[in-house]
Amino acid sequence: MTHTATSRSLVIEREMPQPPEKIWRALTEGPLLEQWMMKNDFEPVVGHKFQFRADPMPNWNGMVDCEVLAVDPYERLSYNWGVGDPASGLQWVVLWTLTPTAGGTHVRMEQSGFGPDQQAAYQGANYGWQKFFGNLERVMKGVN
């Protein structure tokens, strides 16, 4: 099993021994999802609005407001991820990608896309965040 994480670009990837079908169940069946993520009313239906609910903590009421953006069974799942007041809070896009491998599945999670006007970000293609984070790293190095 490999474990790579590039936190600067908020991409987390792991190789898992299970087939994509099984991992897909863990990502999309509410009771299973609750066991490793949070309480939720998720449904794998594009446009479905749902919440992840955790215990409240300082500066966060424990709620994540989400909407399903893409569902391609066993391959790709995307939802937006909103924390705080919809008007002033922050919106992200979470994209899960499952790729079958010889020994199981390559699981990739990407969190990106700031701003409700940029939900198309889950399509990824010509979106500049990856490049920006690369540059950010360079800029931060220059500071230190």
């Binding site: 991992i23 700031f114 931060m140």
Partner: protein, 107 residues
Amino acid sequence: MPTLADRVFKALADPTRRSIFEGLTRDGEQTVHALTRRAGISQPAVSKHLTVLKRARLVRHRRAGRETHYRAQPDSLAPMADWLNHYGAFWRDRFDQLESLLKRMEK
């Protein structure tokens, strides 16, 4: 009341502002005129973007004669770096829990 982190993220959510900010970090201080020429949009539009960047403390300005000069403040990206660290830890923890759930599902 938006936090400074909110302002930083929102300021950089716009591709034009991101490009202005990147230009300033790469090439150093520039006048509003130079930034306008490079951005290919009107000067009032550039000024508006600069105001948003200024509120997020991502840029500073100084006046010299009739020109206003802007420069980047890259250390104000710290809230963004904090966010990356925070969510990086969050997701790695979730991945661990997902792996142990998948093992339980095999039984």
